[in-house]
């Protein structure tokens, strides 16, 4: 810690803006920065990669089962002679998009139900919490498998199903935040100057419940990417769209002939989820410095 000169009265009055303090804490956190850089690189690869490396990931470019390095194919080819590098680069966007859309669905359902339950309380809370408990006992993966099998697998049904099976945690979190905040003075003040319920929920309480929700959103994106990968591994994926999960799933039966066709897409998923969760952990610390001691 650096020694500060005697503070001028002006300095003593100026307080750092909380957002600025948070940003400072976040950018000082090495592992969070590592996560952010990694995540940026992955997003850049998803957006620009296909233009730079334009080999079609579905094309048969070389002999099947070529090990990494052969003929200049850095990660080898799979059982259909498809280039693994092309798959990793072109599959990034679909993987990230499904993860992001699924996380948005999760947040949307969870926040809406949690906010209503926490704000209105009484029977609304009771009914919504019973529904939440019901969804909590359904094994998420199996429930998503049922939904996707019944309604054909496209990227949209997959993202929606993931959202539909994983919102319960968000709903509980939002509810408890609403229960905490709704009794505070500024809410009462807003109410006393005539703010309607709708305004109280969305404009007064929700912004104050955002910090934990933002952290959860990042973490949920990671979980959703893992979820999508698991579903694709089971064959529940859009066969016309290249994604990392699809690569693992389609090479499942050739695990001993070409370990590289499974290892590299898996590593890509692992690194992405790692990056997302490092950023999430960094945000948690920045929002709540007291927790860092643990």
């Amino acid at each position: 810690m650096e020694s500060t000169p005697r503070q001028q009265p002006d300095d003593m009055l100026s307080v750092e803006h909380p957002l600025k303090e948070m940003a400072r804490m976040f950018f000082r956190n090495k592992s969070a920065m590592f996560g952010l850089v990694l995540l940026t690189a992955i997003i850049f690869m998803a957006l620009a990669g296909p233009y730079i490396y334009s080999i079609d990931p579905f094309d048969m470019v070389w002999a099947p089962f070529a090990p990494p390095g052969e003929e200049g194919y850095l990660m080898g080819t799979d059982y259909l002679g498809r280039d693994i590098v092309a798959g990793i680069i072109h599959g990034a966007s679909a993987t990230l998009a499904v993860g992001a859309v699924a996380a948005l669905c999760t947040i949307f359902i969870g926040v809406t139900l949690g906010a209503l339950a926490g704000f209105y309380g009484r029977w609304v809370d009771n009914v919504l919490m019973r529904i939440t408990e019901f969804f909590q006992v359904l094994p998420p993966l199996l429930f998503a498998m049922v939904l996707i099998t019944l309604f054909s697998p496209t990227l949209w049904t997959i993202a929606l199903s993931i959202g539909l099976v994983s919102w319960t945690g968000v709903a509980r979190l939002t509810r408890s935040e609403f229960l905490r905040i709704r009794e505070q003075e500024f809410v009462m003040a807003a109410r006393s100057i005539g703010a309607r319920n709708w305004r109280l929920i969305w404009r007064v309480i929700l912004p104050n419940a955002l910090p934990p929700l933002i952290v959860t959103t990042t973490l949920i994106t990671g979980v959703a990417i893992l979820f999508e990968a698991g579903l694709s591994y089971l064959g529940l994926t859009d066969p016309n769209v290249m994604s990392w999960g699809f690569m693992i799933g389609s090479n499942r039966d050739y695990i001993f002939e070409s370990w590289w066709a499974i290892t590299f897409p898996g590593l890509a998923i692992f690194l992405t989820v790692l990056a997302v969760s490092l950023v999430g952990d960094g945000l948690t610390d920045a929002f709540n410095p007291k927790l860092r001691q643990l």
């Binding site: 199996l142 429930f143 019944l150 698991g230 089971l234 064959g235 898996g266 643990l294």
Partner: protein, 326 residues
Amino acid sequence: MQVLSTVLKRVFYAVILLLAVLVLNFMLIHLAPGDPAEVIAGEMGGVTAEMLAEIRATYGLDKPLTKQLTTYLGKVARGNLGYSFYFNEPVTKLILQRLPATILLMISAMFIAVLMGTFLGVLAARRPTGWLSHFVTIFALLGYATPVFWLGMMLLIFFASWFPLFPVSGMYNVVLEGGRLTRMLDILHHLVLPTVTLGVIYLAMYSRLGRASMLDVLGSDYIRTARAKGVSERGVVYRHALKNAVLPIITMAGLQMSQLLSGAVLVETVFNWPGLGRLAFESILRRDHPTILGILFFSTLIVIAANLLTDLSYRLIDPRIKVGAK
């Protein structure tokens, strides 16, 4: 007496939840695109017109929806979850054959994760800045980011190609001769890799949780009192703190039952473990809807039962939770 009434209340609630799952199943069959009879038969093809007519008659598909629902619930109450045209067997029988394997896998994975997770967490908490503490933090992060099925496949490649110590597929050796003990050991031998795969992910999570909760407990007043009156460090940690530090892990384990089951589906598929998950995988490949819906029902049953058990064990460990109190 009070214990009994609480348990009865919980059981009653569990039954309501199960009914809700059945109603959900029923709704899904009707919401799915296409004729419900075809949904029930599955899209395997080869379903004749007579078969469809038979399904319509047995499920009363020409009657109003409420009547159909009661017919469906009545069937389930008699243990009839439908007929799998792909496996050519009643769904209930099919599932009951596979259920023990899944439960065995879940219990062993959970057992290892909770036991070793607590142990690692406690050891790490005794030196909050030591190497083990850092290891636990990093391990938790890596465990969180690893796709469980990918980890399984990596172990599969590793142990099948380089270190053939453990069998990598199935639950028992079909050609094995021998008595009961030999067979049990054989199953345990097959159980190693699936359990490690499924357990290690949760172990990572619980060791971090165990460390955090142990640190929390070690900072509390009653621990200081124990130290002040001269209890040895070992006694403080294992006799005074451990009991309270383990509670969050048990709560978490109970809450994660449904996720554990989801993980089991993937791990079973990787290692050809003949449980519910493997069956679910086979039935989605064949679009065998009665089977997959039956599995959803049974797996929810497992989760509810596991939750009940966690709840009761929690009460046993922590007498502060008054039985019967709200």
